[in-house]
């Protein structure tokens, strides 16, 4: 019976689609009118969706052009991401089979030996005796004295990359190297310090920013590479469970999560390149309401209002020029935020931040900052706040105007240099509303915060040489 009705409905719908009137169809099925009529009406209501808004001719042409470019990109062999692979390819190109290899060695060993000899020859020719040091530095870890040389070589390499695509590839490679360094340090029983994590984040952010500046097919290729690399490294770091201490485990898990999140973002970027590009190089329109969009890096500029409850989990790969009024309960995490206006908030802010400009922060909140970058703080903070500062700080830290509660933005360094922190402390529990006169500030010249109420002119202008691992409550 049900099958009969299903068939009858199908026939009736087919008639409807050919333009036949519903009344005529129903008249032909007098026994089924009661059941058939509402379904036919529903079928007819779908006509409302038939109209399709097409993009402009220009946009259609651009999409087609992107597809054709993509064909070219897919047709050409991919650039190997590994530095060693590229070096090998380069040397094989210039020294094709010029180095005899002994027949007695196994196949793999012969190949590796040839590569090693070629590498030594090239470094020897280029750097002379310094080549040895350079080669050693390339293998060094963050706890090595040669490590600054390694970073300098990387920077030189980066400075030679003259296109966004090359920059993105290099930053991606360096992200991979930072993750591998963290894993090697853990294997040696050492805890990766905050600056390694900072560098990893920096390269990751730059890779996405640079990728967002490339043409669509190139960006798709880069994001595909990024997805593979980031997921692999996230898994590698996530595997460390046993035989490592708690701080190491925490650091690796955090890095693993970051890489996994970024890998997902790369995957989403492949499917929605315009959205990815907007989040990594574009900007939101000024004014209006900005809704929470979890999981995206954004460049947010202009003035606006953010309302409602949400989670801002941004992989910030661009600066936030933040001139928004924020109300409601918000959780904000990410990198590079510039607060330049009033914050009415009960917010939890964590991770790496750049806070600049002048603003007012009111209401209760937990500010758990892992300072791994510049910190320009000129906010008036009222009501109860819990501020927990951990991590490495570098650059100039201006001042903080704190009122009431647990607020200290009173950090300033000479700028320019990097201040390495000891391993971050676990964030403190937030105080109860209205409490917060508990200060533990190891800054030498800090003015004691006033806990008696609001006084926006209370201005700190302090200095510290090693701003890391500070905890202010």
């Amino acid at each position: 019976m049900k099958t009969d009705f299903t068939d009858a409905l199908d026939q009736a719908l087919n008639h409807l689609q050919t333009g036949e009137a519903s009344s005529k169809i129903l008249a032909a099925n007098p026994d089924l009118v009661e059941n058939l009529a509402p379904l036919l009406e529903t079928g007819a209501s779908l006509q409302a969706l038939r109209a399709v808004e097409m993009p402009s001719g220009q946009a259609l042409a651009a999409d087609r052009r992107d597809f054709l470019d993509e064909i070219s990109a897919f047709a050409s062999p991919p650039v190997p991401i590994s530095f060693v692979a590229r070096l090998k390819g380069w040397m094989d190109h210039f020294f094709p089979k010029q180095i005899p290899t002994p027949n007695v060695a196994p196949k793999e060993q012969r190949q590796m030996s040839a590569l090693l000899i070629k590498t030594v020859l090239v470094f020897g020719m280029i750097f002379g005796s310094a080549g040895g040091a350079a080669a050693m530095a390339a293998e060094s870890l963050p706890n090595s004295r040669l490590y600054p040389l390694k970073l300098a070589m990387e920077n030189a390499h980066l400075s030679m990359a003259d296109t966004p695509a090359k920059q993105a590839e290099l930053h991606l490679e360096l992200t991979q190297i930072r993750a591998q360094e963290m894993a090697e340090l853990a294997q040696q029983g050492n805890t990766p310090d905050a600056s390694t994590m900072t560098r990893l984040q920096h390269h990751l952010e730059q890779a996405f920013i640079q990728a967002a500046q490339t043409p669509e097919p190139v960006m798709a290729g880069l994001l595909l590479q990024a997805q593979t690399i980031l997921e692999t490294q996230a898994q590698n770091l996530g595997k460390f469970q046993e035989h490592i201490n708690e701080p190491t485990h925490t650091a690796l898990q955090k890095a693993s999560q970051l890489l996994h999140q970024a890998g997902q973002e790369a995957a989403e970027g492949i499917e929605a390149p315009k959205v990815f590009r907007a989040h990594h190089s574009g900007s939101h329109p000024s004014g209006g309401q900005h809704y929470p969009q979890p999981g995206y890096g954004s460049a947010i500029t202009g003035t606006g209002t953010i309302t409602g409850t949400g989670v801002y989990s941004h992989l910030h790969q661009n600066r936030h020029n933040w001139q928004h009024n924020i109300t409601g309960t918000q959780t904000i995490s990410g990198t590079n935020k510039q607060h330049q206006n009033q914050h009415h908030s009960r917010q939890t802010i964590s991770d790496t931040l750049i806070l600049t400009g002048t603003g007012t922060i009111t209401s209760a909140g937990i500010y758990s900052y892992q300072h791994q970058n510049q910190y320009h703080w000129q906010h008036n903070i009222t009501n109860t706040q819990s501020l927990t500062h951990t991590g490495a700080m570098s650059g100039t830290h201006d001042s903080g105007n704190c009122n009431n509660g647990n607020c200290n933005g009173n950090m300033q360094s000479g700028g320019g240099g990097e201040h390495h922190a000891s391993p971050p402390e676990a964030p403190s529990e937030p105080p109860a509303m209205g409490s917060g006169n508990n200060h533990n500030n190891d800054c030498q010249d800090c003015q004691a915060p006033d806990n008696t109420g609001s006084h926006p002119d209370n201005h700190h202008d302090d200095h510290h040489d090693n701003g890391g691992n500070k905890k202010h409550r």
């Binding site: 409905l9 969706l49 808004e53 597809f67 798709a220």
Partner: protein
């Protein structure tokens, strides 16, 4: 698969630029329409349509991709991407503002009414199961036959008819409750 598709597919496996461009030209609009009718946003539809063809190139490059029906493969891929899109949207707590609700060149009231009506139906469509939505979209909006829908969905024709029946019933209930909530 028809002969033209067969020849085109053979050429695409060699990454023949003209053949690939012809496939894009043949199917782009149909896939765009199919996605738009479910998503209702131009930019998102452009992205998803590009993603369908990107996946097509990827699949061809990796020696996979369509081996029976090119059209079915493209629609299936579009369907999967739309599901992913909905899943992502679900995690976002607010829909983006529709700033282009009214076109100044047309009668704004009529256009707005049409848009609202379409939005209501589209919203109701989103509450169907992915299979139901796929059948309804292919059958009613793309105008495909049961046979074609069955090929694309990899289901027997009887199952397509059943899905169609259940989908319309669910849609009817959803639209009825939307009407009840509408202000007078």
């Amino acid at each position: 698969m028809n002969d033209r598709d067969q020849i085109q597919l053979q050429q695409t496996r060699a990454f023949n630029r003209d053949a690939l461009a012809a496939i894009y030209d043949n199917y782009h609009q149909a896939i765009y329409r199919y996605i738009y009718r479910q998503v209702g946003e131009v930019d998102a539809t452009r992205d998803l349509t590009s993603a369908v063809f990107h996946r097509f190139l990827q699949a061809i490059k990796n020696g996979r991709g369509p081996n029976k029906s090119l059209k079915s493969w493209l629609y299936r891929t579009a369907h999967n991407l739309v599901i992913d899109h909905y899943r992502r949207q679900k995690h976002r707590q607010h829909a983006p503002l529709k700033e282009d609700l009214i076109d100044a060149n047309d009668n704004p009231v009529t256009l707005a009414e049409q848009r609202i009506s379409a939005d209501i139906v589209r919203a109701a469509l989103q509450h169907l199961t992915p299979d139901q939505r796929q059948v309804i979209t292919l059958k009613f909006l793309e105008g495909l036959s049961n046979q074609e829908v069955a090929e694309i969905t990899n289901k027997p024709i009887g199952a397509v008819k059943s899905l169609q029946h259940r989908a319309l019933a669910a849609l009817q209930r959803r639209l009825a409750s939307s009407e009840e909530r509408m202000p007078l």
